[in-house]
Amino acid sequence: MRIFNVIIKFLTPAIISAIEAYRGMLYLGSSNRIPGSTVRGALMTWALNEGLVSKEEVDEEAVKPRYGITPFLASPEGKVLYRDLNIAHALAFRFKKGLEDQRIYSIGINELIRMFSEGLESDPVDALSTLIARESSVIDEAGDELKCSANIEGVMGEPICRDGGEWRVCEGVRSGLYIGVSIDRERKSVVPGALFGYEYVEAGSTYTGVISCENESVMLRILENIAKSRAKVSIGKCVGRGYGLAEVSVDEVEPIKPLDVREGDYLALEVVGPLSLISELRDSGMPVLAPPEPGRDIHVRLGSGELTLSIKAVYGGVESFRGWSLRRGVPKASLKALTYGSIIIARVKGSVNLINRLPYMGINRLGSQGLNILLPLTKDFIPRYGGGRP
């Protein structure tokens, strides 16, 4: 498996649409994140237009993908995902006022893992309540120390960057709103009522993510080509009108240090790419995908090895995701998934070495669409306030 840190820098304003509102008249963007599937589509389209790959190869790779792609996070240049760039998890917070530099703290994943592994708690809600009660007194004292209100806010899902030993929310990208109309070609004037708006991010915005490939993957060929000379790729909506031109650069990187995990251990998994698993099969045989719940197992298979993660607790949120397949020219099935930054506490069984593939290839082939990517954690990477044991 080869791993590439990919940096996207927009040379023109870009429209990365996330929410369609008012019956197609307003498109709100996701300014701090680009879904992995959007980048994947853009790279494949670029490769097709450049003649690097054929349509048949793209179709084959779509059915049997041999790569994984993470979401791309708005970040300063020079950051590498999982090293000094990450997604804030469900237990991360910051003080609303007072600290100019807006450092990020955690309530403490380690404590949660310990509660479950030592059998102190079995109910997810009770476990979290106990943890919050314990941390409240520490946070209340912060108000005196920082001379500010101790009010805190959650930052789940936000891109965060590490500076020294501290994590902060990455500086946001500038955005704007483009208002357009539709022209009636017969009358050569505006179609009545056809006023619409797109939220865009300004030129100069930078996004970083990771793409991991097996040796036979078509995506590997694309990335190796980009590594030789930066590519100009069109990403997002309205590319024909000049939006979304980006310069893409790649650097091959080493994977993060493997975790020392044994069978039977408890660990936390942060959702990096939204997590959705098959919950049932319709009468037609089509699978229904749904976010996992406590009591379910996640199975990861590679060759003859199988890793099982028995879910004990889930903290975070559920979001709906939709999309359009450029390859097939049809909408993608909408699905509900655990959103970015959600935390799962799970017990490990089976081939524990497969754990280290999860941040890169995901748990199954949906990792090639930027879904089901998990970052396993045996200890919290975000410090507790006051420097306590995380």
Binding site: T12, E50, I179, G180, D184, E202, G240, R241, G242, L245
Partner: protein, 238 residues
């Protein structure tokens, strides 16, 4: 490479008269803002003409020119549709989700034609991160206007308003590119696009109907100029 061709054209336009682009405010006393885009290199907003406006303008001329070029055997059938994509439904419904091969960038003010040539050679679409002075902000002026009542032939009650206009003789530069072309399609696309761009001098631009003229057109790859028709049309701009 699997037999793929691409084409890039850089266009320098000169604005004649006082030009206005942008979305109107409700309050007519303040006047509509000009379209602007944020320039990272200069850390300010620049006057711009949006790419979608230019694409529509060029497309309109391509649709008018296409039958003439087709009749003379210079292009293949349905080339405009192939380059610009499927048009949206006549009643203004949702446009096709399949992106068209053509890409038209926003137009920005440039210092002069030489600066535009340098931008063209540097590689496309670096405008908004260029800090070398080739891109410069356009001069604007605030013009006070009134609306005339057609019946009384005098000023309509309460209809005093202001417009921010771009100064005459402003040079605006933009690029368009077409990718994923088969062998032979690049030459035909160049013929159609250059012929359409040549008609821009007959177009009115913006909301106040200012006219355009084309000062310079740059084309890449230069081998396309070995085609007689492309060479003839390109010669009109030099």
């Amino acid at each position: 490479m699997i037999g793929v061709r691409r084409l890039k054209v850089g266009i320098v336009m000169r604005i004649s008269g006082l030009a206005v682009w942008g979305s109107p405010f409700k309050d007519l006393t303040t006047g509509p803002p000009i379209s602007t885009c944020y320039h990272v290199g200069m850390s300010q907003s620049l006057i711009c003409i949006r790419g979608q406006y230019l694409k529509g303008l060029i497309r309109r001329w391509a649709e008018l020119i296409e039958p003439i070029l087709l009749r003379n055997g210079f292009i293949s059938k349905e080339l405009t549709r192939k380059i610009f994509g499927e048009p949206p439904p006549p009643q203004g419904g949702k446009a096709s989700s399949i992106p068209s091969p053509i890409r038209v960038g926003d137009a920005y003010p440039v210092r002069d034609c030489r600066a535009a040539e340098e931008l063209f050679k540097e590689g496309s679409f670096t405008y908004l991160t260029d800090s070398s002075g080739k891109i410069c902000n356009a001069e604007t002026a605030l013009v006070t206007r009134v609306r005339i009542d057609d019946l009384t032939e005098t000023v309509a009650e309460g209809s005093l308003f202001h417009e921010t206009v771009v100064a005459p003789d402003t040079l605006m530069y933009f690029e368009l590119s077409v990718g994923g072309l088969k062998i032979g399609e690049d030459v035909e696309s160049a013929r159609l696009l250059l012929a359409s761009i040549a008609q821009l001098g007959l177009s009115f631009a913006g909301r106040s109907g200012s006219s355009l003229s084309i000062d310079k057109v740059l084309i890449e790859p230069e081998q396309l100029l070995s085609d007689n028709v492309v060479k003839l049309i390109a010669g009109w701009f030099r």
